[in-house]
Amino acid sequence: MTGYLLSFLDYFQRLFRWLGVDYFMMRNIVEVKLMMDNRRNYATLGKNYQSGDSNNRLLMVYGLNALLGGIMSIFAFIIPSVLLTTTILLGYVIAWVALNLISDYSELLLDSTDNTILLPRPVSDRTIWMARLVHLLLYLTLLALSIVLVPTLVMAFKLGLGYAPVFLLLALQATLMAVFLTTLLYMLVVRFSSEERVKDMISYVQIGMSLLFTVGYQILPRLIPYQELATFRIRFKPGITSCQRPGWEV
């Protein structure tokens, strides 16, 4: 996969040169970073996959994202309202991109060994920054694509091909929103406490989430009377719903 991405980058060689970047150095750095992404441990994959030397960890994460996207797409067949389906799917995109980012952010952006390795080498600052930017963009694009692809195909199948670009555009916007919010959250946390605390907080959030889900699955259905559930409807209240990102299209 790394090979394909790099040959894709090669098409933009002249653009990078024009920007004053040493293209071969940049390609070299991006290649190594992508290689490391593929070997890193991901929280998404759980403990079972963390042993052993896999070269395809990232592909597995993408596969999992696609599967979840498929499951979420079932809504498209249950719910008749296009608006509501789109809103739910976009909500899922934002939540899942944000969760992925939160768990990988510290390794992706706050990797401080990177400076010790790259700064003493004869590579210009501009090239290093461009390599980081390109790597981040590739990572984000692939992450977002793996999450969005299946829902897009399902929506296109249901509503016609013309809907696909619209949904992709909306999903792109949702992804940017998620990135923006996560970065903001991260900056705030790092501003007021340390990098180590961030990692602690991530674990607390993860523990909280798993508790919420296991307990919630047992308790919630017993709290709601069955008759009410049968007549349950989700309705838009334009005022409130439009304030939240997934419903901006309302």
Binding site: V32, M36, T113, T116, I117, L119, P120, R121, P122, V123
Partner: protein
């Protein structure tokens, strides 16, 4: 005018306002081994990082290889090697992959890198681990890879920050011998360490800094005469002003009981 490194009135303040270096002056001639020592937090690593062009906010004049570090950092970096103190390398890579990556950053040919890397790894006894990921390596094994990565482009000046940490006795002897041979090949070595007897043995000249200032600069013999004591450890202790270690040690034992 034949100094290969020339530092004049070097000062540096951290963004927090803490002044790390307070006017350092230092001249290094080509082919010397400089032992650069000082207590923790004295500014050793900061000096090295400035000489490497990693830190650009400082005041004073710094020239390396006759060039100004502010304007010609890229050219200087090409002929300078650096072995950082804490094993900073990409651990999920194998030694061969990592060295290839570093070699390419110096613009070396893939075939040349591979030949050199294989030879060097074999010499330090890592030939069987050449294609294993470094996250399972011990500190000493990583240190060996780090050492090679700092030398693979055959630099003129070599900065070593605590290069012997984690190495076993045989590797220490090997590294010391390599340093001696590098010097006879005309390389300049800037060596920073806390292990005094090694510094004492390999250095042509010893520079001691404390609280951001050079407090001693000379050959081991000169320092011995100045301080009237026999070992570098004692000289260091005398100069950096901590002569209470003995009472501190007994206080420590007292506190344990």
């Amino acid at each position: 005018m034949n100094s290969i490194i020339s530092i004049q009135q070097l000062s540096n303040t951290y963004p927090g306002g803490q002044q790390v270096l307070k006017g350092i002056n230092l001249e290094v001639k080509a082919g010397e081994i400089i032992g650069y020592i000082g207590p923790n937090g004295a500014g050793k690593s900061t000096t090295i990082k400035i000489l490497l062009g990693m830190i650009s906010h400082f005041s004073g004049e710094v020239q390396v290889l006759g060039r100004n570090i502010r304007t010609d950092a890229l050219d200087i970096k090409r002929s300078v090697g650096y072995v950082p103190e804490n094993a900073a390398l990409y651990e999920v890579l194998t030694p061969l992959e990592y060295l290839t990556f570093i070699g390419r950053l110096y613009g070396m040919d893939d075939a040349v890198i591979e030949r050199k890397a294989e030879d060097l790894l074999q010499l330090v006894g890592l030939s069987s681990q050449m294609n294993q990921r470094m996250n399972t390596f011990s500190k000493g094994m990583k240190q060996k890879v780090l050492l090679i990565s700092g030398l693979i482009h055959n630099p003129e000046i070599i900065f070593l920050d605590e290069p012997l940490s984690g190495l076993d006795a045989n590797a220490v002897i090997l590294v010391k011998e390599i340093l001696a041979q590098l010097r006879s090949a005309g390389k300049t070595i800037f060596y920073s360490s806390h292990i005094m007897d090694v510094v004492e043995k390999i250095s042509d000249r010893i520079v001691i800094i404390n609280q951001g200032q050079v407090i001693a600069n000379g050959t081991f013999e000169e320092l011995k005469e100045q301080a009237h004591s026999g070992s570098l450890e004692r000289i260091f202790q005398g100069l950096t002003g901590d002569d209470t270690t003995q009472s501190k040690a007994s206080d420590f034992l007292q506190a344990l009981q």
